[in-house]
């Protein structure tokens, strides 16, 4: 535990170097998903680890130069140092994308496809509607409703002119 605490000063993936030997089974394999991860978030400006974990020799020498005066570094060197530690700058991580267009397009396409599927179903899957939907039957239903004076005050039958035997204009 003390070793891990001392190693944590390095600020890199120190946990992986702590050894846990139990019951004679040896060292458990440390899965990468259990270790601190790098992610670019505006709310978390300094992630737990540097973006580039394995430095090339040029990067290593640049890191050594970083220990000296920063004014001696050129702009390119400063940008390189930034890119070692971080993947995207704030401007890059905040960029808008056009993904919403694909999403809306996909949505409309699926709705359209569903419409086609429903139409096909109506034609090929469902049987005929009941005979009570025939125009003649419907006409008889309408006549029956008018005879019963359904909603004669303000509703249905109020629109029928019983003297002239037609709908009121």
């Amino acid at each position: 535990m003390l070793a891990t605490r001392a190693l944590s000063l390095v600020g890199k993936r120190a946990i992986s170097t702590s050894v846990c030997v139990r019951g004679g089974h040896g060292v458990a394999k440390v899965e990468s998903y259990t270790l601190p991860a790098y992610f670019d978030r505006p709310e978390n400006p300094l992630p737990d680890i540097c973006y580039v974990q394995n430095l090339s020799p040029e990067q290593k020498s640049l890191k050594e130069k970083e220990k000296g005066s920063w004014a001696a570094l050129s702009n390119d060197e400063k940008i390189s140092l930034y890119r070692i530690s971080f993947h995207q700058s704030f401007a890059e991580m905040n960029q808008k994308s056009s993904e919403w267009k694909s999403v809306v397009g996909g949505m409309l396409f699926m709705i359209g496809f569903t419409g086609l599927a429903v139409l096909w179903q109506r034609k090929y899957v469902y049987g005929p509607v009941p005979h009570t939907f025939d125009p003649e039957w419907k006409a008889k239903e309408l006549q029956r409703m008018l005879d019963m004076r359904i909603n004669v005050v303000e509703g249905f039958s109020s629109h029928w002119d019983y003297e002239k035997k037609e709908w009121k204009k």
């Binding site: 600020g11 300094l46 992630p47 001696a72 570094l73 400063k78 930034y82 530690s85 971080f86 905040n94």
Partner: protein, 132 residues
């Protein structure tokens, strides 16, 4: 710079009265000055380690305020002690983001921090061209 979102522009000169950052009815309210000095002290620790810098900075960015120049000054000097230029530039980017729609805060911060930036040789994101 606390509760900045509720103010209009041109508030650089006058600072708002201390407003409660916690909703205790009985507890003591920390003043702005106490808050600032607490954070300046945190980053001024001579043997601050990288974890503490990251933790402090991420926590500070989590608050609903733009940190005072003196806190950032202390944080940048901590970066220098840790030989971490990238984090120093990242801090400047982060506070610009924190200012949000109030575009006059960041230039003020840079103006106040200019002596430290020149002394330590930290370039702003604008100078490096990574602000696009």
């Amino acid at each position: 710079f606390q509760n900045f979102a509720s103010r209009l522009s041109c508030i650089i000169v006058c600072f708002p009265a201390p407003l409660a950052s916690r909703c205790y009815s009985h507890g003591k309210v920390e003043t702005d000055e106490e808050f600032d000095s607490r954070w300046v002290t945190y980053f001024s620790k001579p043997d601050i380690d990288a974890w503490e810098l990251r933790k402090g900075m991420n926590t500070l960015i989590g608050y609903d305020l733009v940190p005072e120049p003196k806190i950032l000054d202390s944080a940048l000097k901590a970066c220098r002690r840790l030989d971490d230029l990238a984090s120093a530039i990242r801090i400047l980017e982060a506070v610009k983001e924190k200012a949000g729609p109030h575009k006059d805060i960041y230039p003020y911060l840079i103006q106040e921090l200019q002596p430290t930036l020149t002394e330590l040789g930290i370039s702003t994101p604008e100078e490096l061209g990574i602000d696009r």
